[in-house]
Symmetry: D2
Subunit: 352 residues, 4 copies
């Protein structure tokens, strides 16, 4: 359904071309002083039209809070919020009424529900992720001591050839692609611009490092920290895979080289686990990688079918991202923050 989280719980609504999107954040503890500028700045990191390598579509994406906050502080009541869809234009999509776009949800939604809001992807639009960024920005403030840094580590075949420990996270926002390695960033930007000029799209990978999360977040068995993070991250549009710590590389390793040996203070000499042991944070950096496919909407003519099973030619219209990965950086952070906030609260009930 449309909720995520057990205690720190977000429920959302909204289609790309309805009058607004929004959500209800439940379970945020009372007494949290909110920095509204920080929330808006996170939304600005996600919004379209930021740079030459994102869609040129402009959306102001101003969040308005409706409840749960009094004199600048959370009250313990549910926090309602909404974001007006200022730029919707339903006429843009009338040509899609009967068409199924390749690698979109048009076909599956139509079959599952028997009807479909065909305007701009409807509920399946990544516009929804703006809601997540709002809730994530509140989660970040609840977890003020935790540092969450996501960045673009690859675009197509261009990748950062360094361990995260060699990177300066303060440089992530220095370029439009959100890659902290400046030389690689320039190559990524050039690649995206080139692909954009061809009317094509390209995928990429976002890496994320969480520092200072402490020991004890996550629950044994079915709510392991990485399982719930994986669930949240795989909910992001276009994500095709996640890996934690050593990830897929671990499958090629031996135990004697993979095991993280302890220092006497309980830290570990290596961190192949990615900061999680037995599903619970161990105080080391939590890190993981998230793979994004290239966006399905391309500015090229494609063959497709309509809902009568007839072949049609699809010509894309509108303004779309040639690479969604730079704008997905704050989304990855938001999902991470929400999962951590949920476990932070749950962990208050672990011991007598």
């Amino acid at each position: 359904m449309n909720s995520i989280g057990r205690l720190f719980r977000l429920t959302t609504f909204g289609e790309s071309h309805g009058d607004s999107i929004g959500g209800i954040l439940d379970g945020c503890p009372a007494g949290l002083s909110l920095d509204f500028e920080l929330i808006q700045s996170e939304l600005d990191r996600r919004k379209p039209g930021q740079s030459t390598i994102t869609t040129e579509r402009k959306e102001s994406d101003v969040v308005k809070f409706r409840s749960g906050i009094f004199e600048g502080k959370t009250t313990g009541a549910s926090i309602g919020f909404s974001i007006v869809n200022s730029n919707q234009n339903s006429k843009d999509y009338s040509h899609l009424k009967d068409s199924y776009r390749p690698s979109h949800s048009d076909f599956t939604y139509s079959k599952k529900y028997g009807l479909r809001d065909y305007r701009g992807g409807g509920r399946s639009s990544a516009r929804e992720t703006a809601n997540w960024v709002v809730a994530g920005a509140i989660a970040k403030q609840l977890l003020s001591q935790v540092k969450i840094n996501a960045y673009v580590s690859s675009v197509g075949p261009v990748f950062i050839d360094k361990n995260y420990s060699e990177l300066d996270f303060s440089k992530i926002e220095n370029n439009t692609v959100r890659c902290p390695d400046e030389a690689t960033a320039q190559k990524m930007i050039e690649l995206i611009e080139s692909i954009k000029s061809e009317g094509d799209t390209v995928g990429g990978v976002i890496s994320c490092v969480v520092q200072n999360a402490g020991v004890g977040l996550g629950e044994p068995i079915f709510n392991k920290l990485h399982a719930n993070l994986g669930h949240a991250l795989l909910s992001i549009n276009a994500v095709k895979g996640v890996e934690f710590g050593s990830g897929f590389c671990a499958s090629e390793m031996r135990g004697s080289e993979h095991n993280d040996l302890f220092n006497t203070d309980g830290t570990t000499k290596t961190n192949r686990s990615g900061g999680i042991q037995g599903g619970i944070s161990n105080g080391m950096d939590i890190y993981f990688r998230v793979a994004f496919k290239p966006a399905s909407t391309i500015m090229q003519s494609q063959q497709s079918i309509n809902n009568s099973g007839q072949e049609i030619a699809l010509d894309a219209k509108g303004r779309h991202d040639p690479c969604v990965v730079p704008r997905a950086v704050p989304i990855v952070e938001a999902m991470t923050a929400m999962v951590l906030a949920d476990f932070y609260l749950l962990n208050r009930t672990s011991k007598l």
Copy 2:
């Protein structure tokens, strides 16, 4: 907590060295005739001591059902079951009482809960997965028309160099490593035996293909089919990553090569999506890969610490798997079946 699923919901209990493990399966529809031999055969696929490449520890793993079944059929009541721990011997573990084994949950459990059942990993033991196999075997019967085939596609650096469509799934059980490509299987077995002789362990990858699941499984936004599958798969001990369809490779591709174009019958010419569009099954094969790290318990002396922060030397005892991947094949299938069963029931409520 210790439950998974929304409608088809499993809740479990049990430590490796308690008297038994077990679970309660809630929400299984009434009227399902159960094949108990099939359930037991799934448990037998998972149990230790099957072959020269698994642990030599013998566990009979006989499931006993306690409720919810009458005259061979499910009644709609919750299905209680348990499996006796026939082989536990708590003395084996007294040397671990104060020790933290590297890359185990000893440290995190102790810190989170303030105490720890140190016998054989306690709740964190993979013995728990026998419960999942029981519930998964029931899910498979509920979804009798769906075919779920998992297999070992790599062990350490040895991998099957073929697309799944070139494999004959009927050969998966023909060898002890559960690899349907016989030549590769032999190399895997040799590698595992070699690593075992060194007292070491090795990781691997399990691939899984789901056929005939139909259109409509999965929910938009936070319960996408692959997000819930990812959650379930990342709950399996030692799993470090998952990828669906094109997975991490998608990050290097362009939209024009990644998009799956439609045939006029609604099937697609390619299946890079892995059978899921917009979080919902589209009727094509669902496929994904699951990465396992090498098991942490190795038969080599390791430096570690105790709960006073003193350095200690750890010498492993007991009988352990040099490679957990072959025995994890039925576990991957079980988790997959449970997630599909849950969405199958939920999908009954999608339309008027």
Copy 3:
């Protein structure tokens, strides 16, 4: 938290003096054609200022839907809606900033959360119930064949001295107190007007009869139909008790007189069970009674305390209901409809 229902699930937000209240209805099946006038008419039945026996406060209570509906039909996406608080005036409440009103939530909210939105009761205001009426009106349309009739059966000591089967439910809306027995209704109205003139309030009882719900709604053990109805009804502001079928009278009866004997068609000769056996609807009329305390806000001076523990004199301001029961009739119906809708969907998964 702020959600109710398992499949047909409402999550709400809003304080009486925020800019709006609203909710997200999740799980409503796709394809339901909504009658928006019916939804608004239900809101109008609940709104203040309807008559001489309710508060004179005027609130227009117009619901605006934000999502989940396309071309008049539900799409399967979450349905977001909101209702503007047109009449809020925060100055009215500044005198309550530090005061705890007797038998309100001021004291408990302040202690639980450490702070409180003191404007008009904040989250604890019965204004929230307008959200429920919206969701309930959709539930009623989902269950179009089911008839839900609630009515006022007593106000203070004045009660209808008849079995519900002797009443004509079509007369419920014929008078302002929503009592289908006209003679009793007049006495109730006179009593309320008299109490209003004294600046006092009075309690009452609402009875509710559900017809044509069919057999099979409700789940064994912890989600019995009457347990979930009880939960929903006790969530309504001012409710102090509920009873189903024979209710408290059953405690004085013998089994031989209480048992409902069967007719050969499966109906029962009597219906002391109130249409529920073993927690599951049996096809007979479901009926129950809901007790409301007198509203706590009275137009009389009361002694109270402030948050420093000092005695104060409280003089009520504003316009309040002398008897909340007539306006609670649509709320009781809405909660009933939501619970039934939830079980209606859940029941689709009971059998193979």
Copy 4:
């Protein structure tokens, strides 16, 4: 489904004539030293065959814990437990295979599920409540400072004509009917014995008083303390109604007499609210009343129908309770304790 509670969560299984019943208690904090004798003594209070006024059926009802406890303390892992059905004899029930007993769940279960475990009521049997008593006894230990006293306040027309504050709760266990007023207790016992001799049954009321629960338990809107208590109490077999504090009497009162005025220490001069304001405990005694119908199984011949719709004559067999209320006292306490424990944990997350 078969779970109750959000954080302190019990899931159960078992039919009256299966080999055992049991449950999994999830979310109990780690580090709680369990008094197993206390748990067993609570079970003994519930078990059949205690006295001349209960069923003569003997069941030993010994609980065996399977997990989640190590060296006498909870570990934070799920607590599995079971109770063997020592006395089942399926032959006793073969005559009920095709019959629907009046005011039992035979008819509704059969229609809902398409089949039914007809042995002794199957899942609908009150034997299930033994599971609740186990979990409740653990909840009581978690809430060691809270005092929960339930007692029988009426049997048929015989009732205690005193306020609870005039009673000495230490006398509750002094007689077999669990009524702390000795003179009334004797009348109740005589009534039950008389009714038993006629082969009939009788209903009654259980009152419950919770002391020292503190301020802050319960959540606004849909998880009000009394709403969740009501849900739990209405889950108990044979319960037809609940009322909190002033209850149904409140419906006849005026606000000026019903309001609880404050003392300067935040306590109230009266306690008509029953210790709950706005759904949250206010530190005063929580009290409520629970109405039980007479048990449906009577030792008299009754007319009924079979599953072919034919009239049959039913003659009851076996040994049954003439009045279930005395044995339900520990069940009411157990449900109360579980709800309080759940809110106690949840309340840890209310404030920053």
